[in-house]
């Protein structure tokens, strides 16, 4: 089983986690329809390092991870607001 390091609970089996998808840029106040469409439907998908949201389900810890989408290597994990 692959391990993912929860910033609160340390390394845990990856099936204890829920994937919440890539980090999306915030939408500006009063955004136009086209910006809304891009915000909702577009997502980071380039082969390479990617910043994404994860949740450790048993402890309900939501955090960020940087993972390489070609090698499936988890590079680092951190709590939102904390310095990675």
């Amino acid at each position: 089983m692959k391990l993912l390091t929860c910033p609160l609970n340390g390394p845990r089996n990856i099936d204890e986690f829920q994937y919440l998808g890539p980090l999306r840029p915030d939408l500006a106040e009063g955004a136009a329809d086209a910006d809304w469409a891009a915000h909702l439907f577009r997502a980071e998908n380039r082969p390479g390092p990617m910043v994404e949201w994860w949740r450790h389900t048993p402890s309900n810890t939501v955090f960020l991870a940087e993972r390489h989408t070609l090698t499936d290597t988890i590079l680092r994990t951190w709590l939102p607001g904390a310095k990675p």
Binding site: M1, A37, F41, R42, A43, R46, T69, D72
Partner: protein
């Protein structure tokens, strides 16, 4: 067909011919460059050459012919979708599969054995009724059947009476079937190359030269070529490829995993899917039980299996057919699926005038091979998008006019 077969069978020589010429040198320019030598790209090349007289076509394949998702899918062909737009499109695909061996003079082993999707809950059954009514309205073969008829069609099924996964009914789709996926690609490749289409294997597209609103150059690891029009049809790498031309598609890639068991005597005569178990099974003509339906839970560009996904597939298969418990897994693999937000493809025009898209095929690409090839060829040859493709335009996302097919599959998402 029958007389030809007889003549061939009785001939002394059994004439053997090579199906494909070796990869030639790249020319300086082509009328059409197709990125991706899988089923879709080859079908498009065939239709361009045979029906539109466009023979200056290069199909560029990074690896080997049909070695991507064409070789990795579980060969399901069906048209029992949710929306009328999708049903119209896939209905045409089924019709083209019915005549494909004749069209290509190549046995693609199309076997129209019917597909049975299982309902384990009242909610699923209600959705089935809606799908059956929509399907009937669109003129496809589809009906909701009760547990007795499910049992009659597949006597080996574990009905799980009184259990959490009791089978309370099914969606029977007699039009459904399978074809040998490699043969589909080879048949198209042979016919296309007979008419002058060039197939370039081990030729990677590294980028595009874009001038104004047009793609003018296709850059490859074997040199730069000029193209009148370009089609992107490279499965799992569609997002990456389109981005090289500056087109940002709403696609996220996930591996989809499948496996086959050792061959056993034929006992499963339909395709069986379970929406609740995210598992589908079909027995190949060799007797192997093909099991599919497990998508990895996070974005990844990988064709490797994981133990937990294989366990999940085995669990589903063994629940439905407990006697499979002792069977050995013969082969296992994954394919990179290019998933869209609404589980429908992205076909037709792009923001660039001469760049065409045949993308977003996620977990539902093989069944569309002939119709996507035929209709994309029409786009390229006439410069216009046929009506049947209009709902699947890239522009639908900006219009919030999605074609939601999330519930039309038993693959896990």
């Amino acid at each position: 067909m029958v007389l030809r077969l007889l003549k061939y069978g009785l001939s002394r020589g059994y004439p053997v011919t090579g199906d494909l010429p070796p990869t030639p040198d790249l020319r300086a320019s082509y009328d059409v460059v197709i990125v991706g030598g899988g089923g879709h790209g080859l079908a498009c090349a065939h239709h361009l050459a045979k029906y539109h007289g466009i023979r200056s076509v290069a199909v560029l394949e990074k690896g080997w012919l049909a070695g991507g998702n064409t070789a990795r899918n579980t060969t399901t062909i069906r048209s029992n979708y949710m929306t009328m737009q999708s049903i119209a499109f896939y209905k045409e695909a089924v019709a083209l599969y019915e005549g494909m061996s004749e069209e290509l003079d190549f046995n693609v082993m199309f076997s129209q054995r019917g597909q049975l999707t299982l309902a384990h809950s009242e909610a699923t059954l209600r959705a089935f009724h809606l799908r059956a009514e929509t399907g009937r309205h669109m003129g496809i073969g589809i009906e909701v059947i009760g547990p007795d008829e499910v049992r009659a069609r597949v006597p080996e099924l574990n009905m799980d009476r009184g259990g959490a996964l009791e089978i309370i009914g099914g969606l029977w789709h007699p039009d459904g079937g399978t074809a040998r996926h490699d043969a589909v690609a080879w048949g198209y490749a042979r016919e296309a190359s007979r008419r002058g289409v060039e197939i370039h294997q081990r030729t990677a597209v590294t980028g595009f030269g874009v001038t104004g609103d047009r793609v003018t150059q296709v850059q490859t690891d074997r040199g730069v070529i000029n193209a009148g029009a370009v089609l992107i049809a490279c499965g799992g790498m569609n997002y990456d490829m389109a981005l090289r031309a500056g087109v940002d598609l709403p696609i996220r890639c996930f591996p989809l995993q499948a496996m086959v068991t050792e061959p056993v005597k034929p006992w499963l005569h339909t395709l069986v899917s379970s929406v609740s178990l995210h598992t589908y099974l079909v027995q190949s003509s060799r007797g192997e039980v093909v099991i599919g339906g497990g998508s990895d839970p996070y974005q990844l560009y990988s064709t490797r299996s994981t133990l937990d996904l294989k366990e999940h597939l085995a669990e589903g298969a063994v629940h439905l057919f407990p006697f499979l418990r002792g069977l050995k897994v013969l082969r296992q693999w994954a394919g990179i699926t290019d998933m869209t937000p609404d589980y429908s493809p992205i076909m037709g025009a792009s923001p660039l005038d001469n760049l065409w898209l045949d993308c977003g095929w996620g977990t539902w690409g093989f069944k569309a091979t002939p119709v996507a090839g035929k209709r994309m060829a029409e786009c390229i040859a006439t410069g216009r998008v046929p009506e049947v493709l209009a709902p699947f335009a890239l522009s639908r996302f900006a219009r919030f006019d999605l074609v939601n097919e999330m519930g039309a599959t038993a693959a896990s998402h």
